[in-house]
């Protein structure tokens, strides 16, 4: 029988996994605050002004969470949201940055060896050795 997949479109796969990630991040933050300061779902619900069951259903995935509610939940937990859209640094089939090797000129600004992601490599303003 081999292997099988859940066949959904790439756009919906990204969407559903993002929704899941946001929900898990909120839940993780609540768990951490619960452990450090005793914050409960009831406290969060009171701050936002809804019933605890609403918060519970949203965190469990039984109810959709709006972007506004994400911010309200973060605020009620004393957290700030960082939101960035970044270009992917990696490509499929490659889990390290692509190294383009070219001639190396050892100028004044050359730092012979530095560690990038724990791997010794050359970093210099004059060098053509770049991470693409």
């Amino acid at each position: 029988m081999g292997s099988f997949q859940i066949s959904i479109t790439p756009t919906r796969r990204v969407a559903t996994r993002f929704i899941s990630l946001v929900r898990r991040s909120l839940l993780k933050a609540l768990m951490e605050e619960s452990e450090t300061s005793g914050l409960t779902q009831t406290d969060v619900a009171k701050t936002i002004g809804v019933h605890r069951s609403v918060i519970n259903r949203e965190l469990r995935g039984m109810k959709d969470i709006t972007l506004g509610r994400v911010a309200e939940l973060a605020f009620s937990m004393g957290r700030e949201i960082e939101f960035n859209l970044v270009k992917p640094q990696f490509e499929m089939g490659r889990n390290i940055p692509k190294i383009v090797v070219g001639p190396i000129s050892a100028g004044e600004n050359t730092t012979p060896l530095v560690r990038r992601n724990g791997v010794p490599t050359v970093s210099t303003k004059n060098s053509n050795l770049v991470a693409a």
Binding site: M1, T16, R17, Q41, D64
Partner: protein, 166 residues
């Protein structure tokens, strides 16, 4: 008797390809019976959420499989749970609309046998029936002993899990 990999090669079980991103690695494995694969590839796609969620049942399952296979943190009782009587060895994976029943043949290696929609299971009280179906499947499966990990969530059957704030 055979290993889980031999059963996969023989076509008795199929291994889930969770379509992890290039930044993720498979830390947990999910195998499925032929019946479950058929359900996931047919019944699941036709369904819409009974909770009017943006995520369809198929999308919910995809997100669940991603977390599970990539080794993400699972929430006991919210995303997975042992079926009563506790210690029978039968577990369920849960989304808002879907339940998947099966067992752990080793740590972080789950074999799903059967699945259904949550509303249907609750309406017709099908938990015991599905639990027994899993136990029958295990009994008939020619797999190396121990066929099934017994015990509860604290016995190390699943890595990286937590309890919900209640």
């Amino acid at each position: 008797m055979a290993t889980i990999t031999q059963l996969e090669k023989a076509g008795v079980l199929a291994k889930l390809d969770a379509q992890l991103s290039h930044k993720q690695q498979e830390f947990r494995c999910f195998y499925a019976s032929q019946k479950l694969v058929g359900w996931l590839q047919n019944d699941l796609y036709a369904a819409t959420s009974q909770h009017n969620l943006e995520q369809t049942p198929a999308e919910q399952v995809d997100a669940l499989f991603e977390i599970y296979c990539s080794g993400g943190e699972l929430i006991y009782e919210w995303t997975f749970k042992d079926i009563r009587p506790i210690g029978s060895g039968v577990w369920e994976f849960k989304t808002a609309d879907v339940r998947i029943f099966g067992w752990f043949c080793s740590v972080d290696v789950f074999v799903g046998v059967v699945a259904d929609f949550a509303w249907r299971i609750k309406k017709h009280n099908l938990y015991a029936g599905y639990r027994d179906e899993v136990l029958r499947f295990i009994g008939l499966l020619e797999i190396d002993e121990p066929k099934c990990l017994m015990g509860g969530v604290e016995d190390g059957i699943v890595s990286n899990f937590d309890y919900p704030d209640t």
